[in-house]
């Protein structure tokens, strides 16, 4: 039961930070959805709001950590160029591209994942900022609240695409 350093950081990136972001989404969405004056009593709004502020900021931080660690710690191992005669299974990008029936995992899957993932922290941070700045006023402003729900959902979908392809690619060409 040991992990190499590379496997450890891949787990932190995908299974700890990324997966926690995705799992927390439903809670955040429910919080935003139900924060409306006609559903919650005056004393109930601040109680829900504290959880929503904490939740959205934690998610924004998780999203940033996920993309930064993914891009600057894990990705260099994925895309490293192998020396001549090297075992390509230690170089995932080259391994995928060298196999015609696997190449699309890089050309489509990884190429999309590495870019689209960065939309998630930008959108999640905008949501977290507005929740903190507007507080209880959000319960009375349907337009802003609905906009946040849409941005939050797009952040989730972007992270979901990245997470899904990350899981598949790490299955086909794991980082050891």
């Amino acid at each position: 039961m040991t992990l190499t350093e590379r496997e450890f950081w891949t787990v932190i990136h995908g299974m700890v930070l990324g997966a926690t972001f995705l799992l927390a989404f439903s809670g955040g969405l429910a919080g935003l959805w139900s924060l409306r004056s006609e559903w919650v009593t005056g004393s109930g709004v601040p109680e829900r709001l504290h959880r929503l502020i904490a939740g959205t900021w934690i998610m924004a931080v998780l999203a940033w950590l996920t993309v930064i660690i993914g891009t600057y710690v894990v990705y260099p191992w994925y895309r490293a160029n192998p020396p001549a005669g090297a075992d390509l299974t230690q170089f995932p990008r080259s391994y995928l591209l060298a196999n015609p029936h696997l190449a699309e995992w890089h050309k489509f899957g990884m190429e999309w994942k590495e870019h689209v993932a960065w939309l998630s922290p930008i959108l999640a941070t905008a949501v977290a900022y507005v929740v903190l700045r507007y507080g209880t006023k959000l319960a009375h402003d349907a337009k802003i609240r609905q906009a946040l729900i849409v941005l939050f959902t797009i952040a989730f979908v972007a992270a979901g695409v990245a997470g899904l392809f990350g899981a598949f690619i790490n299955k086909v060409a794991p980082i050891h």
């Binding site: 870019h115 960065w118 959108l123 507005v130 209880t136 006023k137 802003i144 906009a147 941005l151």
Partner: protein
């Protein structure tokens, strides 16, 4: 609390619209890097990561600058939120398109 009671929708619109600008910038630089080798090389800020380092750094900087600029303009203003949110969604859609490999491969040099 009194401060929040008087809060206009300008700060929210600024944050929301800037997120669209950042998304659009990411899509735009992703596609531009594919279309032009000189841009791709210029975006290679950190060799182990390659051009992805530049695309994402530039997008984040543009996002933050746009946010600061919009906030400066609208921090005390009541703006047309629906119109700005529609613009945001269009920019996010274009950003998503620009980061989609089947789209940016059309411009591959």
């Amino acid at each position: 609390m009194a401060q929040k009671e008087n809060l206009t929708n300008g700060p929210a619109a600024s944050a929301v619209l800037a997120s669209g600008v950042g998304s659009l910038a990411l899509g735009l630089f992703t596609t531009m890097a594919e279309a032009n080798a000189a841009i791709k090389n210029a975006l290679n800020l950190y060799n182990p990561v390659g051009p992805l380092s530049g695309k994402t750094t530039v997008a984040v900087v543009i996002w933050l600058v746009a946010w600061a600029a919009f906030h400066g303009l609208w921090k005390n203003e009541q703006v047309n939120f629906t119109k700005l949110f529609t613009a945001t969604l269009i920019m996010i859609a274009l950003g998503l398109l620009g980061t989609f490999p089947l789209f940016y491969d059309l411009f591959s040099g």
